[in-house]
């Protein structure tokens, strides 16, 4: 495991991958490796963030991300507070700004927020003094997802540089796609996006990716398939004719993989899966799937993020030496 001795973490917030350098991404991944170690212990806990208060402010539904962040904070001995918008005064019309400032008045250190509006964490960061972690903002970014995806790829396939990664699905509405594109291109991978033309946003090639509407082309030669959930409601909005046709064109099935995929290909999915739609039942649970590994890695990666944001400017090397 390589240690980056020159890089320090200096950012107060984690709002996206776009503003991170390759070295900062690797710093997080390296830190996550040592936390993954911690998670394997009989008592998977370290006192690093004891006394810190971390708030999960989730304005959109979430299973994985929310649980993952909560566990990550707890494994680091932080105090956690969970607020779900659906059961809070958001329902009474309280604004995001007021909500955040009220919570901050209770002396907290960090807010982890998921929100349906792109740019909400940027707005939040302007309203409060605490650190902000973006757990997904609209179609914009989901940085910790991309980080755990990169971690998983590195774990399974080694160095990301030069790998062919294909992201399949509704790219236009996907924050996972955008964050992944940033992370993978910064780490030197070759990225292809594939989906219906109606769900590929304009000028995405400028982000450094190849575009194809042909699933065979996307699968052939790929080392990684990152398959996105198709939102069934998009069908209502004239974006594609039917689920049936979507599956026919873009569904990942055993047959498709047998025909076109490399033997060592890995299949990823951020969850939740629409079984039988973007992934067939067999593929979701099959030999190529690393989906559950992603989830496990998610806790370690989020521990790394919470740790680094709480210890701005402290060299990672010093911390390691002390242990």
């Amino acid at each position: 495991m390589k240690k980056n001795t020159n890089i320090k973490w200096t950012k107060k917030h984690l709002l996206g991958i776009e503003e991170l350098s390759k070295e900062e991404i690797l710093l997080i991944l390296d830190q996550a490796e040592s936390f993954k170690e911690v998670l394997k212990r009989p008592i998977p806990k370290v006192p690093t963030l004891r006394g810190k208060t971390i708030v999960n402010l989730f304005c959109e539904a979430s299973t994985r991300t929310r649980s993952s962040f909560e566990l990550a904070a707890k494994r680091l001995s932080a105090d956690t507070l969970n607020i779900a918008a659906s059961s809070s005064s958001f329902l009474k019309g309280e604004t995001l700004k007021d909500t955040a400032r009220n919570i901050e008045a209770m002396n907290i250190d960090m807010i982890i927020m998921r929100h349906s509006c792109s740019g909400a964490p940027h707005f939040l960061a302007r309203c409060i003094d605490a650190s902000v972690v973006n757990a997904g903002d609209g179609a914009h970014e989901h940085p910790t997802q991309a980080l755990l995806d990169a971690f998983t790829i590195r774990e399974k396939l080694g160095n990301i540089k030069g790998l062919n990664v294909s992201i399949i699905g509704d790219i236009a509405h996907s924050r996972v796609a955008r964050s992944n594109i940033w992370a993978l291109t910064k780490l030197g991978a070759k990225v292809t996006v594939c989906g219906p033309k109606t769900l590929i946003p304009v000028q995405i090639e400028k982000m450094g990716v190849k575009v194809t509407y042909d699933i065979a082309e996307a699968v052939e030669g790929a080392d990684v398939l990152n398959v996105l959930r198709i939102q069934l409601e998009r069908q209502e909005k004239a974006l594609f004719p039917s689920i049936r046709e979507y599956i026919k064109c873009f569904g990942i099935t055993e047959e498709l993989l047998d025909k076109y995929a490399k033997k060592e290909i890995i299949i990823m999915h951020p969850g939740p899966i629409n079984r039988g739609v973007e992934l067939s039942q067999d593929v979701a649970d099959g030999k190529y799937s690393v989906i559950l590994h992603q989830v496990t890695n998610g806790v370690a990666v989020r521990m790394a993020v919470l740790f680094l944001l709480s210890h701005i400017k402290t060299s990672i090397v010093e911390e390691k030496a002390e242990k």
Partner: protein
């Protein structure tokens, strides 16, 4: 009552004047212009180093009275107008209630008379309550004092209704001002469709949401024989359509806002809601086309689309904030910095876009320094450097992305109807 303005650079594109000289106002009208005027006056203004021009006419302002006086009143809006050199503003009808009757038109004219700042030209709605269903009583609107009708804020969706409304408007000699937007193509978008909407993950608005309706409205105006004015043009495609229509001889004119020729969609990377406008800020290819359009005359007018919103309304997640920014107080400076300094227009042309052309299009009879005309004038310091900060804003709202900008050029004195309303940057 005589006012003598001395030693200024007199610029009047309507008479092809651009020379140093004096100007005399008598009994509310321009009585002498040019050369050295040796007259006794009750007030003398020294315009040495400054420009003397007819007051600006904003063809697109939102005064929020009646209905949203919390964001702007007629008084605060007209104060902002004077600050920016606008001696007349066209008040758009999307107030609460909408300006769709003669009583409402008269209300606006009365308020302007009470407030004694700038003039208001009330723009009536095309359809009752701007609902897009029934035409307003346009003859009454015209007789009450409206020079134009518009459903601004929305497009008239029913093409047949719009065709008939245009025919009717032309019968009573009303200008039709079109806000061109295809609601379906707009599709709940919040910013221009392009590389940056892809990057930022914000719902996109394609240029075609505007250009297809520009084309439609021009064809309908042609059919109806109406005078058409396209509001807040934002897309290169629209500029091209208007250019071609003018070549065909269609009676169409167009306006652009300072924010559309100054800023691009790249600025939205900060998710600053003061940049959220309708139509949206577009790409550099569009701003270039807009500036070229101003230069070659395809775009006749610079209008502000001054749209006040409260801080509490704008301080939200990007999707939830309302569209609009204020603009009366920054229009001139942005025109100077973006158009004159970058050599798209010279001073006479800029003044033509702000004053002479709007007046001509509205058949207003002002926007000129012709002898005998009503004395609505501004004196401009073309080199003055100033900072646009919250403290300087006269509008009741402060939703501007230009806050903190260093500005060049300022209106220092304003005369409306022969009375000094602002002297040395202080409102009287």
């Amino acid at each position: 009552m005589k006012i003598l303005i001395k030693n200024g650079r007199l610029i009047d594109p309507s008479q092809n004047i651009d020379s140093k000289g004096d100007l005399l106002i008598e009994n509310g009208k321009i009585s002498q212009i040019g050369g050295q005027i040796k007259e006794q006056a009750s007030e003398t203004i020294n315009a040495d180093g400054k420009i003397i021009s007819s007051g600006f006419v904003d063809m697109h302002t939102h005064l929020r009275e009646p209905g949203r006086e919390d964001a702007e009143t007629i008084e605060t809006g007209l104060t902002a107008a004077i600050m920016g050199g606008f001696t007349t503003v066209c008040a758009m009808p999307n107030t609460e209630p909408a300006c769709d009757s003669q009583g409402h038109v008269k209300f606006l004219l009365d308020r302007a008379r009470e407030v004694k700042l700038a003039n208001i030209l009330p723009v009536g709605a095309i359809t009752k309550n701007r609902e897009g269903k029934r035409m307003t009583e346009m003859k009454e609107l015209k007789e009450a004092g409206s020079p134009a009708v518009s459903d601004d804020g929305s497009s008239v969706e029913d093409a047949e209704l719009l065709r008939r409304a245009m025919e009717y408007a032309s019968m009573v000699d009303l200008l039709v001002i079109s806000h061109c937007e295809d609601k379906a193509l707009f599709a709940g978008g919040v910013m221009n469709e392009g590389y940056f909407s892809t990057l930022l993950g914000l719902a996109p608005i394609p240029a075609e949401a505007e250009s297809t309706i520009v084309e439609r409205d021009i064809r309908l105006a042609e059919l109806a024989g109406a005078r058409l004015h396209i509001a807040h043009v934002s897309a290169a495609e629209s500029v091209e359509i208007i250019r071609n229509a003018k070549k065909r001889g269609v009676k169409v004119t167009a306006e652009v806002t300072p924010h559309h020729f100054t800023l691009t969609d790249e600025a939205l990377k900060t998710y600053d809601t003061n940049l959220k406008v309708n139509p949206p800020l577009r790409s550099s290819k569009d701003t270039e086309a807009l500036k070229k359009g101003l230069k070659d005359g395809t775009i006749d007018v610079i209008a502000t689309d001054h749209a006040p919103h409260l801080e509490s309304e704008k301080e939200k997640e990007f999707n939830y904030a309302p569209f609009g920014m204020i603009g009366l107080e920054t229009a001139l400076s942005l025109g100077v910095m973006e158009l004159i300094e970058k050599k798209y227009l010279d001073w006479p042309e800029l003044i033509r876009k702000l004053s002479a052309n709007p007046s001509k299009i509205l058949k207003y009879g002002r926007g000129t320094l012709e002898k005998g005309r009503v004395a609505d004038l501004v004196i401009i310091d073309p080199k003055k450097e100033w900072s646009y900060t919250k403290e300087t804003i006269k509008s009741h709202s402060s939703n501007s992305p230009f806050l903190g900008w260093k500005m060049t050029a300022k209106v220092t004195d304003v005369i409306v109807g022969g009375k000094v309303v602002m002297k040395e940057e202080i409102i009287i």
